[in-house]
Symmetry: C2
Subunit: 324 residues, 2 copies
């Protein structure tokens, strides 16, 4: 994974060199702040990796890499307001550290900055890049809206949930890959296959996130195991359990969802017990494998640098088994 | 002005035909709502008018016209949240009618829709259009931030104020004109002159807004005369009065600013009295005329359809004397 770390470092150097701060400082400080909070830089690394499938000139793809990371961080700032989240990557969220108005406006200017980072690409590919980015940005907003609507719904169907995570999470990974390929001059059909690889893999990653929230090794997991259960979050596991539960199990699920005073570990143990009885972990891993296998089948059809392809496979596999 | 009304009608037809609503409805309803609230459609009309200087094919400029109107309405949705404004054009604001989260997210998707409306222009002009739009959108955010900062400052200098209204208001009018010209295939240098015309005229319009808030004919004015005075808003008139006031006048100004219980008409009368004594209306009209005259001088150097130029002059003059 040496190469992946190198690409992460390229992204981090680009972020540091691309400081947004200028007048008025109050508007731009939150941009530098959230970009400095770190993270895996998955989306920009995917841009560079897809580009690397067809080219060795990484620097050519750096503006687009920064564009998707900038867009992702814009969406984090606004989502954190909407979710009333106090902490992001162990630090205060932008609306907590500054205020709501600054978080709204700094997010807005950050979305514009993402477009600014794309506009210097050659005019032969610029329309494709901007159209793809527009479509993706629209879908990410749609995904966030649907996710917020789920909170108020009594129930969510599996197909609705899969569509939501596709929009909210997967399409930006897909877009990152297609952009990298387009910038390297890959044939349109191959760039689109990489999009499809990213879309399927992105859904698999999010389902794995849902799985790990319950079944991760607590010593390796960065946050509280069972957090989604405690918050009654309608994850894939929640939806499957409600679909498959018998009347008695459903009664227990509803009981824990409806009481407001409880011991967290008791609620997590009770609901995890039902998940286990219903074989939800196995079912979830099967569907994750389905998505991942379809994704890898598509990747196999791509005519590109085999070493770079192996890196993309390795990165995907690592993301699918992380922290368990 | 028959032609101007025709252009407004073209814009309104385009808005109606371009309904944004699709799934999820909760995300898109606010877009249709705010776009349907009407208004003068000044920015899209400026796109069409600048385009008309060089071409008769109005329909060619309609997407860009809708893009700037969409952007303008995005900024209204987010500004209304930040300003905690309950009413926009006589109707509830988006965050009042729905909620804050919907207003944030619908605004975000609206900003993306503005880019979507630009992306089908020919690749020879697309980079110029997007760059101009990025720069303008960034500056509008900067202007809003500076305006919010003014509320917390004890004082604001004239040059700071002029810069703020340039960013918050004038550059979008300027951008509208330059876009229209670029789409019609006008020479770059002429498109830039139209930008400068719009920038200067936009500053003049905003100063006239400040003036009318105090000196409009109450029977013709759409809102309460003296609203800015009642709210202690740091307008051009406020800034000039504080700059020119003698110690006694300053004491009276501060008195009215600091008391929280007062009769509105008494406060408006007292402060308007000081404005009159200091000849602020005359000074304001002089600076408005300076900006407008410079703008018209620039317009005079443009080689374009004289009838269309006359329309642009007429529209500008009407905006400069409206409602008095």
């Amino acid at each position: 994974m040496q190469k992946i770390i190198e690409l992460q470092e390229l992204v981090n150097k680009k972020i540091v060199s691309n400081t947004y701060s200028k007048f008025p400082q109050e508007l731009y400080d939150p941009l530098d702040y959230i970009m400095s909070l770190g993270g895996k830089r998955l989306r920009p690394v995917l841009v560079l990796l897809a580009h690397h499938l067809y080219s060795d000139k990484h620097e050519e793809a750096l503006d687009a890499a920064l564009a998707v990371e900038t867009f992702h961080n814009f969406s984090l700032i606004h989502d954190d307001i909407m979710d009333d989240a106090p902490i992001r990557r162990g630090k205060p969220t932008v609306h907590e550290k500054w205020n709501h108005n600054t978080a709204i406006l700094s997010g807005d200017v950050m979305l514009v900055k993402a477009y600014e980072l794309l506009v210097n690409y050659p005019s032969e590919i610029l329309p494709s890049l901007i159209k793809l980015f527009n479509k993706t940005a629209t879908e990410v907003c749609e995904g966030q809206q649907i996710d917020m609507m789920f909170e108020k719904q009594a129930n969510v169907r599996e197909d609705e949930y899969l569509k939501m995570i596709e929009l909210k999470t997967a399409v930006l990974l897909a877009c990152s890959l297609e952009m990298g390929a387009l910038i390297a001059g890959a044939p349109k059909v191959e760039a689109e296959r990489l999009y499809e690889f990213g879309r399927l893999m992105g859904i698999a990653f999010q389902l794995q996130d849902d799985y790990l929230d319950v079944y991760a090794n607590p010593e390796k997991f960065g946050k509280q195991v069972g957090g989604d259960i405690i918050a009654n979050k309608k994850t894939f596991l929640w939806i499957e359990a409600h679909r498959l539960a018998n009347p008695e199990q459903l009664k227990i699920l509803k009981h824990w969802e409806n009481i407001s005073v409880f011991k967290a570990e008791e609620k997590v143990a009770a609901i995890t017990g039902i998940y286990n009885d219903l074989e939800i972990p196995k079912l979830t891993q099967e569907i994750i494998n389905n998505y991942a296998n379809k994704a890898f089948e598509i990747l196999a059809t791509i005519n590109a640098n085999e070493q770079a392809k192996a890196l993309l496979v390795k990165l995907s596999e690592d993301l699918l088994v992380r922290e368990t």
